[in-house]
Symmetry: C2
């Protein structure tokens, strides 16, 4: 059982900020910025592609509400919402979770937004065509 | 009018991979990793907290489908889903958008996941309490 499942089962403590029948939101112990919150479903699933759409919707609505609260009462200037799928994407705990991270002017964090470019418009179109194929099959 | 609104209005071209009544998904011209796709609502809104819940749900369901396609036909090992709100969070275009970024083992990208810590459990609880206040007011 992973750490998030133990939090759901109350086997280990967490600082919970929100809970309903389907969802728990609690403080990340290793915050990118203080106030960093995690939103998870109570049902077992790993990737965003695993659960039915209604589970994804409920999670994202809670993430939206947490973001609003961070901007209102933490007075955050911005918020990052991030959801990592798979070790290659940096996912560390194999239970679906959404990071909601308050951001402040001059908070010192940089995401390393290392934008690259395509060799040609033909190359970009080839990637697009593969994605289109994946959407219809 | 910003660049995404011009794409919605077909005033500038984009490499579109998906479109419905409410949503467009197209290739990011400056990909973190090739295949990087943006999902946006057709209605004007800036932050995730701006539109009604149903708009947020629809966007996230499309992001989920794009992620599935990237793993299936691009054979991505993982996917980052990221949504930045406000300049302090790195948002560059003031129209709500979700980044869906395919990730591959050894693709060379690192997000700079600079986790920090709280000075004490009391400090963490103080941040949590502020978020709880924001959720109920």
């Amino acid at each position: 059982m992973n750490i998030f499942e133990k939090i759901i089962n109350r086997e280990i403590p967490a600082t919970i900020v929100y809970e309903d029948e389907d969802t728990i939101a609690f403080m990340d112990m290793g915050p990118i910025i203080k106030g960093h919150t995690l939103v998870i479903p109570k049902t077992c699933c790993n990737l965003i592609t695993d659960p039915p759409d209604d589970v994804v919707c409920k999670l994202m609505i809670v993430a939206k509400r947490i973001a609003a609260a961070q901007m209102k009462t933490l007075e955050a200037d911005g918020v990052n919402i991030m959801q990592n799928n798979g070790k290659a994407a940096g996912q560390e705990v194999p239970h679906l979770h959404i990071h909601v991270i308050p951001r402040f002017k001059n908070d010192g964090h940089q995401w390393n937004w290392a934008a690259k470019s395509y060799d040609s418009s033909t190359e970009m179109e080839a990637f697009a065509e593969k994605i289109r194929e994946g959407l219809i099959t």
